[in-house]
Subunit: 484 residues, 2 copies
């Protein structure tokens, strides 16, 4: 192990930036140290052992007799404290540099950390010139500042916490569905249908000179998926519980703090539904199960957000977890809005779409807790939403979940499974040929079914209290911005 490193370093030493500097070897012939990740070292299981830890320097405090380093390798928010004799100090031991430290793991005399590494050898693997590095030691940079450096911001505490939380939340979503017998389906990114007819689509073409003789590479115009729903409905014709979790796209010219051109959606489709409650149950359970998992598995990382980024947000989260999400109809929602003394910018007449200001008011009205709004006007909903066939105000069996701070988190509906009704609606829209395959799903063994989508970034905003959606995704894409 030692030899291999030395070899790497001797190769590296022929170059300028990655010069390996051996800062003193006390014990040449000792047993090869065990390689540990920072989280493993912090667990305390290897107290007294001779170990090697590799990572990046997050702080350097030189004192008279000793130098103290904090070393982080992404495995936890908490760094490993390294204590080294002053003779091991070196001007290249700077904030942001990469190091390898060997020594003995000891119980720390300080309360702040359980263990510390008494260094016997420190090697600077990769230098980091403080004056050029955009992040400064001891400074707490805001999310907006670090957003300017998409290739470096993962090296800050806040964004590395976010990435661990995002990874854990992803696991939590998969676990929920797996435990509830859902089969995961990879719905396609490139599609020849536009689902909602929304028009805000990205089109996909080969970048070079056309490499097929056709007008189109795929023989038809091809777009980036808006939702995976229609494809998920295909599969739900044989699987009574399916879900997908992947990127979706909107070509919206928006710089809003709630919209991205590329964002992740969790979508589920359930067959043999009896009412909209079959959907709200899954939405609420998934929300709570995932949140519980994240709160339990990312204690320090979530705390960083709840203490330093959005103080006080933990109370909102706790309240959400305790609440039974109320269900109101769109008609009741409109009544609530019309009875309120609030002045809204957009109209609140029956038939109008609910805007962010309305959603926010409804959430506040319901005790700052998540609320389901069901049975929207039929004319507001896409062709696939199930007709409630009610009078005099015709509604569709659709549902949105509104949450504090974010507004709409989920949207779903029962789907029109009745061939004649669906057929008539598609014909009206001139779409019966485009969607003949979709009608086939109702021709052969059609069943009542429904599903929903949850915006994953909005979910993270909701539980962390992060104001801007660009701060909860590794590489945000929006109009005028596609960095890296």
């Amino acid at each position: 192990m030692f030899q291999a490193v030395t070899k790497t370093l001797s190769v590296a030493s022929t170059t300028s930036a990655c010069r390996g500097i051996l800062l003193g070897i006390r014990h040449y012939c000792k047993k090869t140290p065990t390689k540990l990740r920072v989280s493993q070292a912090l667990s305390g299981a290897d107290l007294g052992a001779n170990v090697k830890v590799q990572g990046w320097v997050r702080s350097v405090r030189p004192q008279k007799a000793n130098v103290f380093l904090h070393v982080n390798d992404g495995s936890s928010l908490q760094p490993l404290q390294v204590v080294a004799g002053a003779e091991l100090n070196d001007p290249l031991l700077t904030f942001g540099s990469a190091v390898e430290v060997s020594g003995i793991l000891k119980k720390s005399p300080h309360k702040k950390q359980p263990v510390e590494l008494e260094a016997e050898q420190i090697t600077v693997i990769g230098e980091c010139t403080p004056v050029d590095f955009p992040f400064k030691i001891k400074e707490r940079h805001g999310l907006e500042y670090i957003r300017q450096f998409p290739h470096l911001r993962c090296r800050t505490n806040a964004f590395s916490s976010l990435l661990r939380i995002r990874s854990e939340a992803t696991t939590a979503v998969h676990s929920y569905f797996r435990e509830n017998d859902f089969v995961q389906i990879h719905t396609p990114i490139i599609t020849s249908n536009d689902c909602e007819g929304a028009g805000e689509l990205f089109q996909v073409k080969p970048s070079g000179p056309e490499i097929v003789e056709d007008e189109y590479f795929f023989s038809v115009p091809a777009f980036l998926t808006v939702p995976g729903q229609l494809h998920l409905e295909v599969i739900s014709g044989a699987f009574s519980r399916v879900y997908t979790f992947g990127p979706t796209f909107r070509a919206e010219n928006s710089q809003s703090r709630r919209h991205l051109a590329e964002f992740y959606m969790v979508e589920a489709e359930i067959s043999f539904t009896e009412s909209i409650e079959d959907l709200t149950k899954v939405m609420e359970n998934m929300f709570k199960s995932a949140t519980e998992h994240v709160l339990a598995h990312c204690v320090e990382d979530v705390d960083l957000f709840h203490k330093h980024v959005t103080p006080g947000h933990r109370d909102t989260v706790d309240a959400m977890m305790k609440s039974s999400f109320p269900v109101i109809t769109y008609t009741e929602a409109v009544d609530i809005l019309n009875r309120s003394s609030e002045k809204f910018t957009f109209p609140t007449d029956w038939g109008c779409d609910l805007k962010t200001e309305h959603e926010k008011y409804l959430v506040k009205h319901c005790g700052n807790a998540p609320v389901f709004v069901t049975d929207y006007p039929y004319d507001l909903k896409p062709f696939y939403a199930r007709d409630n066939q009610d009078h005099p105000e015709r509604t569709a069996a659709a549902v949105d979940l509104l949450v504090p701070g974010v507004g709409e988190l989920c949207g779903g509906s029962l789907r029109e499974e009745r061939l004649d009704l669906l057929s008539a609606r598609l014909e009206e829209a001139g779409l019966e040929d485009t969607y003949s395959w979709y009608l086939d799903l109702r021709r052969f063994g059609s069943v009542p079914h429904g599903g929903f989508g949850l915006g994953f970034e909005r979910y993270l905003q909701c539980i962390l209290g992060v104001d801007n959606i660009k701060d909860v995704i590794p590489f945000p894409r929006f109009s005028h911005s596609c960095l890296l």
Copy 2:
């Protein structure tokens, strides 16, 4: 529960396709039956219970006194056998129709199934006219035939098995990385860099009239990602173990049985590497861990492929699992090819790329087991591959994993972490401005690192023995084809 269903049915009965037919109720006032999924019913835990099962009819066998149905809901390959008195039979009980069956779960007198459902009530929820339905009862349709019906093929045994296996293999991949402390990163789909300069990219533009005043929506040309590697490398500057698992794209005009325009890649990036072995270990362990998981969790589904689709393939899989994947260098591989008596179409001189025919030969030469080929000619590899600085034949620290039937399954390399070498190579290619952010990763705390990508569809082909890549993805996209 009963009432709700009846309500659904009475609504449905106003329409043609989804007419609900109540076929006889023996016991009106009995306890509400427990709703079970087919896999739950088959587990035998509810023997003697009054249950309700919903699904699709996979076979109908009317006899003198009884009618036998097989009902499937996607939760397992094995259907639930329903036994009903002849009086419950109905012409609408056809192959492909959707039904709801209530009755008592009993131990089956037949060896083939552990339990059967003695029906008290059968409701046809969705009809399926046999003459129009493209799949026929008792016929085993080939994969090529069912591929013509992308919206219906999940209703066949083979493709529903594939979907369950794919879902389970996805879980297995995530589990492997999670258990080994990797953080999952959602690398972007839309990107402004083309990574390999391969040229076979899809470009992304808003489909409607331009909605931003700029020439480009993102202010720069934007493409669909080829690999997530460069973005993963960004994160590996703060996290020593990261991975991503998502769709990637190639605008190749290919109809090959190994290529798609949209396919899934598992990519991992590991910091503080010492040699290429740090990568081969992870590739081999992940392959074996995922395969072990799939073989253990999808016994019946995998058997369907190994018995009926590709007889004999199980031996190949077992041999792969037992083998320690050998490692040979590219130079050794070329020697093997040149010493062989095989006539190759493409040249095998040192410096030439290995083609499928060569890969197949090497796999066969190594006992029809997976084999790693390392240290490819420097000039064959992209700018980010680490220069081995060897003489006289200059190689790069790159590695491919070749497997039986498929050829290249994984490709990876150590990355050039030395700023001066990387910088010189990018300058040579005129790319130093485009990749200045990538050079930054080497300016600030650079560490030796490397990674690899695994083609997920090829992995499924490899373990199942499926010849055509279009048969292991729910919605295949390739030149001239983007159905649904």
